[in-house]
C-alpha cells in the first residue's frame, strides 16, 4: 500500500543545509562488531592468563584461520547479493585435491599447478553461477547440490586417500614466514624482534592514517559531515595500537606469515572492489532491491554470475592454503568450512535479506570465531562446548542485528 507517512515527513523535515552538521552519531550497529571483538579478545586473554596474545599464539591464530577468512571474503559478496554458498567447503576439498594430484602425481611445476587449480575454482564458480544467475535456480539449492557433487569429485580425484606431501614453496605460502631480511633489533624487555616486520608495520600504519586523513579532508572540502578531529585521532590511535601490537608480537616470534601478506592484499583489494567499483556497488544494489536494480540498468545476471566465479576462485585459493598447511589433500578436507564462512559473514554484520555487509566485517566475524576456538582450546574446553558457544554467538549476533534494525525503524 503506497500510503504516505506524514509522521516521517515531519521527522525528517529539517530544512536542507540547516546550520552546522549534526553531532556525529555513534553507530552501534556498525561499530558493535569491533567492540565485541575487542571484548572477546580481552576476555580470553584474561581467562588464559595472557596465553592468547603470546607472540606464537597470535601468529598461530592468523595462520589457523586464514583459509576461513579467504572464504569469508568471497562469501560476504555472495551474501550481500542476497544469495548463499553451501558448497564452499567441498570446493576447498576438490581444488585442494586437484592441486595435490597435479603437483604430487603428475609432477607439474607448482606455479602452473596453482594456476590450473585457481582456474578450476573459476570453472566451478561459473558452473554454479550459471544455474543461479541465468537459469534462475535458488543459490541454496544449486550450492547444496554443489556441496554433494564436489565432495564426491574430491573423493573420486583422490581415490579416497590422502595425497601429499606438497612442494616446499606451496607449504611456505600456507605456513611459512618471510625471511629475516634486515636482522633483529632489541625491544628492551620484549626481547629481539625482526626489523623488517616492524618497518612494514610502521609504514602500514602511516599509510592508513594518511589515507584516512585525506579522505576526511576531501569530505570537508565537499561540505560533508566529518567526524571531529578528536574522535578521528582517537580512532587512528586505536588502530595504530592494534596493528602495531600484532606486528610486534609477530616480529618477536618469527616474521610476517606469508598468508598474512596474502590476506592483507585480498582484504584491501576486495574492500576497494566492494565500496568503490561499479561492480561492487551493483552487488549492493542487487541485494537491496533486485527489481529496482534491473530497472536501473544493472546487469543483474552478469553480476550474479561473476560473484559466484569469484567465490570459486577464492575457494580454490583457500583450498591451496589449507591443503598446503596439512601438507596433504584429504577426502574430507574443507568439510563444514562453508558454515564457518557464512557464520563469519553474519557475525560480521551482513543482513540475512541481502544488501548489507562489509569485507572487514566478515573478516572480524571470522576472527571472533577464531579467537573463541583458539581461546577455548587453550582453556582445555572440549570441542562440543566450543561448537555450542559458536552457535550461540551466531544466534546472538544476528538477533542483535535484527533488533537494532527494528529499533531504528527502517522501512522494511
Amino acid at each position: 500500500m503506497s500510503s504516505i507517512a506524514p509522521a516521517s515527513t515531519t521527522e525528517l523535515a529539517a530544512p536542507p543545509g540547516s546550520g552546522a552538521p549534526r553531532k556525529f552519531e555513534f553507530n552501534l550497529r556498525s561499530s558493535g562488531i569491533y567492540l565485541a571483538f575487542a571484548a572477546i579478545v580481552v576476555l580470553f586473554d584474561i581467562l588464559t592468563h595472557g596465553l592468547l596474545l603470546t607472540p606464537e599464539n597470535v601468529s598461530n591464530l592468523i595462520v589457523q584461520n586464514s583459509y576461513i577468512l579467504v572464504l569469508a571474503i568471497g562469501m560476504i559478496l555472495v551474501i550481500i547479493a542476497g544469495h548463499i554458498d553451501l558448497s564452499a567447503g567441498s570446493v576447498v576439498g576438490v581444488t585442494g585435491a586437484i592441486a595435490a594430484t597435479l603437483m604430487v602425481n603428475h609432477h607439474i611445476a607448482w606455479p602452473l599447478a596453482l594456476l590450473i587449480t585457481v582456474a578450476a575454482g573459476a570453472v566451478i564458480g561459473a558452473w554454479q553461477g550459471y544455474w543461479v544467475a541465468y537459469f534462475g535456480l535458488p543459490a541454496f539449492i544449486v550450492t547444496l547440490a554443489g556441496m554433494l557433487v564436489f565432495r564426491a569429485l574430491t573423493m573420486t580425484v583422490l581415490g579416497n586417500q590422502g595425497i601429499g606431501p606438497f612442494p616446499d614453496q606451496v607449504r611456505t605460502l600456507s605456513t611459512g614466514f618471510l625471511g629475516n631480511l634486515m636482522g633483529n633489533v632489541g625491544l628492551g624487555s620484549l626481547g629481539g624482534a625482526d626489523l623488517f616486520t616492524l618497518l612494514v608495520g610502521v609504514l602500514a600504519v602511516l599509510a592508513a592514517v594518511g589515507g584516512q586523513w585525506r579522505a576526511r579532508a576531501a569530505k570537508i572540502r565537499y561540505g560533508q559531515q566529518a567526524e571531529p578531529v578528536g574522535i578521528f585521532a582517537g580512532k587512528m590511535a586505536l588502530m595504530a595500537f592494534v596493528v602495531l601490537g600484532v606486528i610486534v608480537q609477530l616480529a618477536r616470534y618469527k616474521n610476517l606469515p606469508w598468508v598474512l601478506v596474502l590476506l592483507t592484499v585480498l582484504v584491501l583489494g576486495y574492500s576497494l572492489v566492494a565500496s568503490r567499483t561499479v561492480f561492487g556497488r551493483h552487488v549492493y544494489a542487487i541485494g537491496g532491491n533486485p527489481q529496482a536494480a534491473v530497472l536501473s540498468g544493472v546487469k543483474v545476471k552478469k553480476v550474479t554470475f561473476w560473484i559466484f566465479v569469484n567465490m570459486g576462485v577464492l575457494a580454490a585459493i583457500a583450498g591451496v592454503v589449507f591443503t598446503g598447511r596439512l601438507n596433504q589433500a584429504g577426502p574430507t578436507a574443507g568439510t563444514n568450512f562453508e558454515l564457518d564462512a557464512i557464520a563469519a559473514a553474519f557475525i560480521g554484520g551482513a543482513a540475512v535479506t541481502g544488501g548489507v555487509g562489509k569485507v572487514v566485517g566478515a573478516i572480524t566475524g571470522g576472527l571472533i570465531m577464531g579467537v573463541i576456538n583458539n581461546g577455548m582450546s587453550l582453556l582445555g574446553a572440549p570441542s562440543e562446548r566450543v561448537m555450542l558457544v559458536k552457535g550461540l554467538i551466531l544466534l546472538a549476533a544476528v538477533a542483535f542485528d535484527v533488533w537494532a534494525k527494528r529499533r531504528a525503524g527502517t522501512a522494511r
Binding site: 504516505i4 506524514p6 536542507p16 549534526r22 556497488r281 529496482a292 530497472l295 536501473s296 544488501g355
Partner: protein
Amino acid sequence: MDDNILHMAGITKTFPGVKALQDVNLEVKRGEIHAICGENGAGKSTLMKVLSGVYPYGSYEGEITFDGEACEFGNIRDSEARGIVIIHQELALSPHLSIAENIFIGNERVRRGLIDWHRTNAEAAELLRRVGLAENPTVRVSDLGVGKQQLVEIAKALSKKVRLLILDEPTAALNDDDSEHLLDLLRDLRDEGVTCVIISHKLNEIEAVADSVTILRDGRTIETLDFHTQTVTQDRIITGMVGRDLEHRYPEHTPNIGEEILRVEDWTVFSPTQRGRKVVAGANLFLRRGEIVGLAGLMGAGRTELAMSVFGRAYGVDISGRLFKDGKEIKARSVDEAIEHGIGYATEDRKRYGLNLIDDIKRNISAAALTKLADGAGLVDPHEEYRVAEGFRASMNIKAPAVTAVAGKLSGGNQQKVVLSKWMFADPDVLILDEPTRGIDVGAKFEIYTIIQRLADAGKAVLVISSELPELLGICDRVYAMAAGRITGVLERDQATPERMMTLMTQTTESLTAQEPVYVPALEPEHEQEKDQ
C-alpha cells in the same frame, strides 16, 4: 420487510494523509445486480474492503446495515458468516490444490477429525454444476484457465451460503466468451435470490447486466442511477465518473515542441505469465522533443506493460514491433541498452521497483548512471557522488536532513523526487514517468508537474502515464488513450475533454471483436491493483 438488503451510510475512511472515502452512501436492493463505477482511485475497492471487514469496524466512520441488522465486522470471517463474500480481482486460489480443496479451504468437510473426501468432492461437484463448470472436482486449479478459475471462486462463495456476492473487476482478465458466461451466471444467481455488487470498468457489460449503478468519484458518492426507471447510457455514466471540475491546479506552461525523437511502431507484447495472451496489441506512438505526452487508460489497459516493454523489454515476452530513436531504428534488448539509447523509465511502484529502500539517498540517485561518477581506474568517486546528490536535494527540494538519509524513511513525495533525481542524473532524451504523482499530496504534486515541465523545456520528451485524467489534461500537450492493449486514439490538448478521453478509454471489446480474437490484457496484480492511497 425492507426493500434494501444493504445500507452503507456516511462511510469515511482515512489513510495517513489521504481521505480515501468521504461520507459515502450505498443502498443495494434485495436481489439486484448493483454496479459500482468510478475512475482508478475513486474508492471502489476501499469501499468494498470496508464492507467485507478487510478494514475492521472502528477503522472507518459510518454505519453498515445488512438485512436489517447493524454490522460491526472485525475481519473477513465475520462478514462471510453473514453471507457477504468478496471475490477480489486477483484470484485467491491455491494453484496446486484441487478444485474441491479450494472450494472448501478453511471450511473443510470433516468427519471424526478427518477430511471426508467423498462429501468434499460430491458437494463440490454439485456447486460446479450450479456455476456451469464442467470439470472434475479433483482437477488441479493451475490446470484451469482464468475464466474457469473465476467460476471456482464463485462456487467457493456459494459454498459459504452467500447472500451478497461482491465481484471486483470479475471480467478484466476474461475473454468475451468467458465474460458472457460469467454475466449469465450472475443473472441466474440473481434469480435464485443472491444479490450481487459488481465493480467494473466495462460499461457495456454494466449496461447489459446491472439493475442499478452507483458512481463514485474522488472518494465520494456522486449518484445512483436505476436502469429500470430511467434511461442510463454509457455516456451518462461517463459524465458522472469524470465530473466537470478540474479541482487540481496545474502550473502554466508554453511548450516548445521540436522534432520527433522516439517512435514506436506496431508494438505487440505477450504476457510472461499467461501464455498466448496479448497485453499490448499493435501499438503506435511517437514523442517529440520538448513535448509532454500523456498515456491514459483504465486498469489493465496495458499502459505500464507498453512502457516497460519499450524500456529494454523489462516486461513481456515475444515482443514484436519497431523502435526508432531520432529517426534511426534501435534495438533496446535490455534495460542498460535502453538507458544507453537515452530512454529512462520511472516506475509507478517506487518502493518495489524504484528504490533500494535500505540504502541512502545519494546511492539511489546515482544508481542508474554510476559510470558517470567513475574515474579512469573505474573507481566511483564518493565525494563527487555526494556533491551531485546534494545538488539534487537542493534543486528538487527533497526534504531530508542529509543525502546520507535512508531512502526507505522518506515520505512518498520525497521518495518520488529521489526517483526523478535518479533519472535526471542519468539524463535520458526520453523519460517515461509511470504514475508520477501516485500517493503524493497535492503540494508535492504541483512540484512534480513543475519538474516535468522543466524536463520538457530542456528538450526532452516526457511520456506521462496516469490514472488521473484531470492531471493528464492539465499538463500534457497530447494524450494517447489505451484500452485492452490498443491505442484507441490520440487527442491534442485543445481537443481533449474528459468525456472524449473516457469514451476512448472504455472502447474495449465490442469495436475490436471483428478484427481478431480479443485478448484482454493481463492484470499484473501488483501493477494494476487499485492503490489505497
